[in-house]
Amino acid sequence: MSLLEARGLAIGYRGRRVGGDIDLCVATGEVLCLLGPNGGGKTTLFRTLLGVLPPLAGVVTIAGRPLRDWSRLELARQIGYVPQAHAGLFAFTVEDVALMGRTARMGRFSSPSPQDRAAVGVALARLGIAHLAGRIYTEISGGERQLVLIARALAQEAKMLILDEPTASLDFGNQLRVLGEIERLKRDGIAILMSTHQPEHAFKVADRLALLKTGQIVAQGMARATATPERLAVLYEADVAAVAACLPATRGKP
């Protein structure tokens, strides 16, 4: 069953349309990867799917219910969001940042309970950063911050995660750790929508791919079949041979 579904979606701001005719769906236990150049409308699409930006046309349904019928709190129990690692402004501890993921699981007027702290401990441990819990978020490295934000989304215990270039600021080891974690989440039945600039990462974890350019989905389907060197070359306005040379060997994926 598809957890998130968008039909005929037009995205943009009042007076400035960014894209349209977008059809998307993500099912439980599925990873949909979004590929496309910068400025292609990924961020606007995410903002619309998160309900921060109203759609200009079309509908988004979450678990069969229109997006606009969900309250923020209920929605946060369905969908978690992992932004690109940001610098952060105030010197929150890593634990505090991750605890913010528990907000949707607390009463409106509550502070984190011991259970919330335990859940955060588990999430941090799962990403191998339990030792950072007491550190100041603004003082750790960019890669570590990205892991903390993923841990925050895990602590949220949502049914679906939207990840905005989760591997962009990570070193190689942490990239593998994050991709591995995404595969594990998928096995746990979490629906995942992520964007990336690295097709090989998409090949590694994605069930399906969608190519987004100037606000249009230009192709969508099974990973290997969709992201052909020809299509990628058009997508990124690059040379086909150069693209092909960079892609991993076709038999790499089981």
């Binding site: 969908i79 402004l89 105030f90 913010m100 907000t103 502070s111 603004t138 003082e139």
Partner: protein
């Protein structure tokens, strides 16, 4: 509950505030020994002598008002700094002080009574913030936080121009000094009646802040992040703006414009207990109250003639702020 657990830094702050409180009772232009003060406190407020009047009718309301105003301005400052994601924001970022100043200046210009001066100051503060919020709501395409701050600057400037106009129109030997003194701020005229008016407003603003203490943290994230974590960002922000405005306007209506408190105290508190709002809030209440009580004690006992409190908080606040900034070496 985490809000009420007391690690030793809270003990430290409590000691500071308590010391300021005791000093405030002990010092003042009317010569009283600490023994006199203690005796008067023990004898109760009904004793018919000057000592009792000084301690119970003059110093006590003033100290209480100092605490109330310091706590209110600091809490509003802490909330605003978090919500505007900017540690340099003070409670008058949305034009409260300029609006209140204009209200008071107009009331003085018209020769209205004291109650009207306070009432118009309070309403002016609300009006300024209301205008800012309304204008910001008309702008949709930009970051709402940035729009609010810019609208605040614009409306603040507009109301300040109104104050200047009122000063120009004022009788220079009669009304102008009153307006100037009002704008400088001070607690010298505070009465129990003022407290009775301001305290409920401050509490009304503080209560939602206490209840929403955890969620306030999330406003320091970007809007979509906070929204994705389950917060109705615009509603929470509006609630906090109403709360902070209520507290600031009430404080300004009673004490005039007392600057720097709402900027410096949250900074100092964040260095002590971190930015997490459920720990920060009790810390700013304690520190802010203590700071204004201490500054006011200095204001009324350092020189033969009282120094305006607003000048003193700036004199103390600005260097403290610079020291904190230099010593912290990180963004707090």
């Amino acid at each position: 509950m985490r809000l009420f657990f007391l690690p030793d830094r809270f003990v430290l702050m409590a000691v500071f505030t308590l010391t300021a409180l005791l000093a405030a009772f002990a010092f003042g232009p009317y010569p009283l020994s600490p023994g006199d003060v203690l005796r008067a406190l023990r004898a109760g407020p009904w004793a018919e002598n000057d000592t009792a009047v000084v301690v119970w009718n003059l110093r006590l309301p003033r100290i209480a008002a100092g605490f109330l105003i310091g706590a209110a301005l600091s809490a509003a400052g802490a909330a605003y700094q978090g919500m505007f994601r900017n540690p340099l924001v003070s409670p008058d970022i949305l034009g409260v002080s300029a609006g209140a100043g204009l209200g008071a200046a107009l009331a003085i210009l018209m020769g209205f009574s004291l109650l009207w001066v306070q009432g118009l100051a309070f309403c002016g503060g609300l009006l300024a913030v209301g205008t800012v919020y309304f204008v910001a709501g008309l702008v949709r395409r930009h970051d709402p936080v940035l729009v609010l701050v810019l609208a605040g600057v614009a409306v603040g400037t507009l109301f300040s121009a109104g104050i200047s106009l009122a000063k120009v129109l004022a009788d220079p030997s009669v009304q102008l000094p009153s307006i100037t003194f009002w704008l400088l701020g001070g607690l010298n005229a505070v009465t129990t009646g003022d407290l009775a008016l301001a305290a409920p407003l401050v509490v009304a603003g503080l209560l939602p802040m206490l209840l929403l203490r955890w969620r306030v943290n999330l406003l320091s994230l970007s809007d979509e992040e906070a929204a994705a974590l389950g917060v109705n960002v615009s509603r929470l922000r509006a609630t906090l703006i109403v709360c902070a405005t209520l507290m600031t306007a009430a404080a300004v209506a009673v004490a005039g414009i007392v600057g720097w408190v709402g900027l410096v105290v949250p900074h100092a508190a964040r260095l002590l207990v971190g930015p997490e709002f459920s720990r920060l809030l009790p810390a700013v209440l304690l520190l802010g109250g203590g700071f204004v009580i201490a500054a006011d004690t200095l204001a009324r006992s350092a020189t033969a003639i009282e120094l305006p409190l607003g000048i003193l908080t700036a004199l103390v606040g600005a260097p403290v702020f610079l020291v904190l900034l230099a010593r912290s070496g990180r963004t707090t």
